[in-house]
Subunit: 473 residues, 2 copies
């Protein structure tokens, strides 16, 4: 049982009809690749958020940019919403057809088009997933570092400005996309950016599209930066007497400019869940999971410095891993945290937070929020890309108990208010979607959101591209 | 004697009148800080480009965001252009009042507002220059790496998406601005971004403003990333038997992922000019100037690897510098190249190119262009941020000889066409301004430029913010 939509969305819900003539036109154009079976529509009408809406009225499976152009042009002709659909792993309701319309499934556009190893770039279709991409470029000695929790598609990762565990060193999608091909609201194809590493040629349309959540264009091709696989990689876990000790260690690592590749926090409570789930036998104390990339000498230097910093805060039980197999074992705790948490409370739903604050504010923001969550009595897990000042509470709610949802939302509101007071953001990497519109207003102010709306109206005057997300018009 | 404006601009020239009532209103509001003396207007009506236009009709010296809001609101009321003015170091005519209007001098807004050393961020007014900023943060052990040739203002650097010699490691203004305060075309103040390191909160208005060349808003405050001063810095110069050898070395450095902080090319011809100008006694051969940042061990490792790569291409006469004084001496050649070149041909003007290509295409792009320039007989200098695939020819033209300007423009066109064929950009860091509008169309295509125009019209419906730049409306 999922939740009703937030208030502002209710007004936008199903104001629009999908005329039968559009469905007929789509079937004429796409034949079997336009599906109207309920099961297919329902599968495209939900994501990993805790909201529900009626499913889209049809699903079109795109195989080419021309398919996308034609589908969007038809939708435009009939004033009907179009929602691009990738892995379906949005946490914020991005994929819900709150105003009806059609879902445009991009998963069959899944070819890696060109690996330019000499330039450290790759061009791919938007339905390629991050794991697929990394498989494809591995033999060239390259990798793409952005790793949201899910095996998301590149198109979806662009649309939400995704990041993940490696962002502390390699940046986010914002920093790693060189060029895009986009289909506009009128069904026209345009290209933004080039394969050059930098450019000052006109407005940064690439960055405008990254994070626009499908509301300004449909991404049909992406060109990304790649990185040489590090000569040496070393991973470590370290236990701390308190969350504060782990966080203080992280802050020092960042402030000293250590080029750490990953530094992830897991709280004791979550370690406990992971131990139950994956039989890891880890010390049930707050833990940092770290990874170092570089030359053998550089990795050793980083590791020694970090170990010294951690020891200064009571860090102990350092466990190191240098082979891929050992690293995988250490990272199991982090990767399984979500599933372990869900299994700890059968039938629960997760309400995930995503605040991100300047690194010096991390301890304040995190410790007060932990105290608040503990006092509430609600079950939760806590993981964090703490090197970026970004962390996630996952409140585990029983969907049959509205008071648990209300409590989780209250905690989330308090956390966001705290993060904004500390000069941070309501969302480090999940996006606004349906869930954070009010937070966006609080964070950016009426004037900035009005500017976003003005851009949306100018580029999508019929409001057909994923309408009702980020803001209501 | 400067040049007439490019054709498309002639249409935009002086279509608009600045009513006396606006000047009166500005004088009433700003008193002595609104100047109409010809000398002041002329000083604000030119930049480092080779174009001229009539000066602005008035200059307002802003001291606060409120000043900017009021000046823009008045200009909006009277439909009159406003051009924000910083260091005046644009190379592309950004500051020319091609449609008349007022110049808004931002240089008195030159306070560093907050150094958050613990977060590696700084917030400053837009009139702060990059050298001033680095002086201000030095005592905290921090620095800001973006270094265009001129001592530009932060506002101007944002507006043109500037970069410089350190971009190969630290990125450009695109990558290093966290947040902005902007005055919109209606005179409203808005804020974009926060001090958090990453965010997925709505459209990336910060990146939309970066590189918009004053056409979408006036920047009144910037929040930037800072970096810890490296524990060790080492610089080196190395001579090569040919430009190709220097470029091939650079390509290998980048492809191997060496985190080099600077790698700059100077051709033999330019070394000769610098020797004459600065009495450096350098070998008059193509030269790479490099800098390595990191721990002592890391710097040593990088330097050894690079020396090995260079030797493989016949690089020799390595000269190393580790103290600040020695480094300054080595970098003199790079810093003085522009002035040395100008002095080599008294009375000349410079037409600077700014192409940037994927690193694997650098040799092709550069070598063909050198051959072409040599064959033309026109004097030039050649320097390059070659680690980014970005380089600058400076064609030295006698302004009394129209055929020299025509020849330089022909060479520039051929170079840009070549760079675009090689999947690069017409401008790595100087921007479009007045000079590259046709190139922007060739590079981005009609559809993308139409999207830029749509955004401009939506955000500045009266076309008062630096009109006639990037594109004509």
């Amino acid at each position: 049982m999922n939740a009703p939509l937030p208030d502002p969305l209710l007004a936008d819900l199903r104001q629009r009809e999908t005329p039968a003539a559009l469905i007929d036109a789509l079937k004429a154009r796409f034949a079997g690749r336009c599906a109207t079976a309920l099961a297919v529509r329902e599968q495209h009408g939900r994501d990993e958020s805790s909201f529900t809406a009626p499913p889209p009225d049809a699903v079109v499976f795109a195989q080419s940019t021309q398919d996308v152009r034609d589908a969007v042009a038809l939708a435009s002709q009939y004033d009907v919403p179009v929602i691009a659909f990738g892995a379906g792993s949005s946490l914020e309701g991005h994929l819900l057809a709150v105003q009806g319309g059609i879902s445009l499934d991009m998963n069959r556009m899944n070819r890696v088009l060109a690996i330019n190893a000499d330039d450290l770039t790759v061009t791919a279709q938007p339905g390629v997933t991050r794991k697929q991409l990394n498989e494809a470029v591995k033999s060239c000695g390259l990798f793409f570092p952005i790793d949201p929790g899910a095996d998301a598609t590149l198109g979806g990762m662009c649309a939400t400005r995704a990041s993940g565990t490696n962002a502390v060193r390699y940046g986010t999608m914002r920093d790693n996309v060189l060029a895009l091909e986009i289909v506009t609201a009128s069904g026209e194809g345009i290209r933004t950016g080039t394969r050059a590493k930098k450019s000052a040629a006109g407005y940064d349309l690439t960055r405008l599209m990254i994070g626009s959540e499908g509301t300004l264009g449909v991404i049909t091709e992406v060109t990304l930066k790649l990185y040489p696989l590090p000569e040496a990689i070393s991973a470590a876990i370290c236990s701390f007497p308190s969350i504060e000790a782990a966080v203080r260690t992280t802050i020092e690592i960042i402030q000293l400019g250590v080029p750490i590749a990953r530094v992830e926090l897991i709280d004791a409570n979550t370690v406990r869940m992971v131990n139950v789930h994956s039989k890891l036998g880890l010390r049930e104390e707050p833990m940092l999971l770290m990874e170092f990339h570089g030359s053998p000498g550089g990795v050793k230097e980083q590791a020694e410095l970090v170990q010294e910093l951690a020891s200064g805060h009571g860090g102990q039980a350092f466990e190191w891993a240098s082979t891929p197999e050992e690293r995988t074992r250490l990272w199991t705790a982090r990767h399984n945290a979500y599933f372990a948490a869900i299994q700890s409370k059968p039938g629960c739903r997760v309400i995930a937070t995503d605040t991100c604050v300047p690194i010096s504010r991390l301890a304040d923001c995190l410790l007060e929020s932990v105290a608040e969550a503990d006092a509430s009595g609600l079950a939760y897990f806590l993981v964090g890309h703490v090197g970026d000042g970004n962390f996630h509470f996952g409140y585990l709610i029983d969907p049959a108990k509205p008071e648990e949802r209300a409590l989780a939302e209250t905690l989330n509101h308090q956390l966001v208010a705290r993060a904004l007071r500390l000069e941070g953001t309501c969302t480090g990497e999940h996006g606004i979607g349906l869930h954070k519109m009010d937070f966006l207003l609080s964070e950016s102010g009426d004037g900035a959101v009005a500017m976003m709306r003005t851009i949306k109206r100018a580029l999508d005057p019929k409001n057909i591209l994923n309408p009702g997300k980020i803001f209501t018009l």
